[in-house]
């Protein structure tokens, strides 16, 4: 790095180097994604906030090992839909959910279901990277300890494994004790993905995971998501249609209709983009509406 920047003139602001090359750790390819076996079944789901309806009568299946992309204009309930799947909607005051969501056949909205256990199995990544104000190591270890993993050897092993999975290990292995919030945006988002993967979830919900990142970091994260395909079931909300097209197996279009977000069309990604049935889908994927 010193040689690279040796022509640095004193007084000139040093340009930070671009994010380091993506180093992907060992990751076995998952099963091919062609057996449509639902892991999450959503049936006539509606979601209301205190004074408005965010979702109306949504039914769809999320297939195991596949990437399902949810597209549509802002404010049509895609994020609300995700929060209903892992019951994060419980935390929003005044939020009411109707209908059923079954996760591996179990009703996630049952009163006796342990929401903490559910969220361990259905991880979530937010639009803005949300590392805790702790060290890189503590970011991964804190939730693991909370779920009862206490032996330092186990923790170290899991830490290295997930950081390798997201291609962050080589970049941070020498500064695991430094604050996570000092990482770049893309690195923070990959750390958050690693943190979620550390709990070994079955499903990952991603709410526009790339939209707060610069194009380079965004490509790195997208690449990572593609690599997770097969091993995890992924539901991703994205406004980037090209991205949805590149990575998703299934796609669903949400649209605001009659004061409520509705699922307009759902199907194989290729079909949604190349042969949409609904005129709104055709208009949206061709960039004429939305």
């Amino acid at each position: 790095m010193t040689t690279f920047f040796s022509d640095n003139v004193e007084g000139r602001e040093e340009i930070s180097p671009p994010e380091q090359a993506y180093t992907l750790g060992p990751l076995q390819a998952g099963p091919p994604c062609c057996t449509p076996e639902p892991v999450l079944s959503v049936n006539s789901l509606s979601l209301h906030y205190a004074d408005k309806t965010a979702l109306k009568n949504i039914s769809l299946d999320i297939y195991r090992g596949c990437i399902t992309a949810l597209i549509g204009p802002s404010g049509c309930g895609k994020t609300s839909f995700l929060s209903a799947l892992n019951r994060l909607s419980d935390l929003i005051p005044g939020c009411r959910v109707e209908g059923s969501v079954r996760f591996d056949g179990v009703d996630v909205r049952a009163a006796d279901l342990d929401a903490q256990h559910l969220r361990r199995n259905i991880g979530m990544i937010f639009q803005k990277p949300t590392p805790f104000p702790l060290s890189i190591r503590r970011n991964i270890e804190l939730p693991l300890r909370e779920h009862g993993m206490n032996r330092q050897a186990d923790l170290n092993e899991r830490l290295q494994q997930v950081l390798q999975d997201v291609g962050l290990w080589e970049e941070v292995k020498d500064r695991l004790e430094s604050p996570a919030q000092a990482l770049s945006g893309g690195q923070q988002q990959r750390l958050c993905i690693a943190r979620a993967l550390a709990l070994q979830p079955k499903v990952l919900l991603m709410d526009e995971p790339c939209s707060a990142l610069d194009p380079l970091s965004s490509a790195v994260v997208e690449d990572l998501i593609k690599r997770l395909k097969g091993r995890y079931t992924i539901v991703i909300v994205t406004h980037n249609l090209a991205q949805a097209r590149r990575i998703a197996n299934y796609a669903g279009l949400f649209w605001m209709q009659e004061q409520g977000g509705r699922l307009i069309e759902f199907g194989r990604c290729q079909q949604i983009f190349d042969a949409p049935v609904h005129h709104l889908t055709a208009a949206y994927v061709n960039g004429q509406r939305g």
């Binding site: 929401a115 991880g123 979530m124 805790f132 104000p133 909370e146 709990l199």
Partner: protein, 279 residues
Amino acid sequence: MNYKNVLATSLIWLAALLVFGVFVWLLADILTHGLPRLSWSFLTEAPRDAGRAGGIAPIIVSTGLIVLVAMAGAAPLGLATAVLLSEFTPTHSIFGRLIERSLEVLAGVPSIVFGLFGNAFFCIYLGLGFSILSGGLTLACMVLPIFIKTAVEGLRTAPDDYRLSAAALGMSRSAALLHLLLPAAAPALIAGLMLGIARAAAETAALIFTSGYVDRMPDTLFDSGRALSVHIYDLAMNVAGGDNNAYASALVLMILLLIINTLAASLGHHWLHRRSITA
């Protein structure tokens, strides 16, 4: 320049100078009268002749004990209430509003009323008598509203991201609170406690009826003990010829408050700094 502008500017300057002037006058008055009396023996000796002679050692000890009792009472109770209000009570629920409104009322209650309440409740009803314990607990009641208010603000300004991502990772609310929210709110908690200490250490009216006048060195918390502010009040109002020692005591009280403030501020700063670097 517009004459209105000039007028407004000069008025603002006048007001600022007036405030500054009052402060300087007060400080100069205390310094000129108090500084000559201040000595090592003044800090380490017991008062003689009703405080006209001798020092203020037992009074400093009593003041410290009263403040400690007040903090020990207010900190856990206040923290628990703040956590309840900010984390477990919906913002606009009737219960939350009721508690917040009562805290506002409590914050505005004159200290003499707290004194009478403390006398009736702690001294008489609970049978603690005129004691450091009664005085400290009465001050705890006074400090609570300030402390809770700042603590709630601090917890509410902790980023919602922490709550959501912790929940999304299947962490319990108490774990998020312990590991993420309380550390994030720590500066506000320290500031609230600091304000509380400052108010407690400077309190007179509430203490006259609760911790009493006795200027001997206290042996236990059940002994009566005279706080610095009470000592100043007594010397200034009830003891002829006690003025100079009152000035010296006032100087000691001001220096003590200054030390506590600086200490708490640097403690908070140091703590924050350490966290952001290594934690």
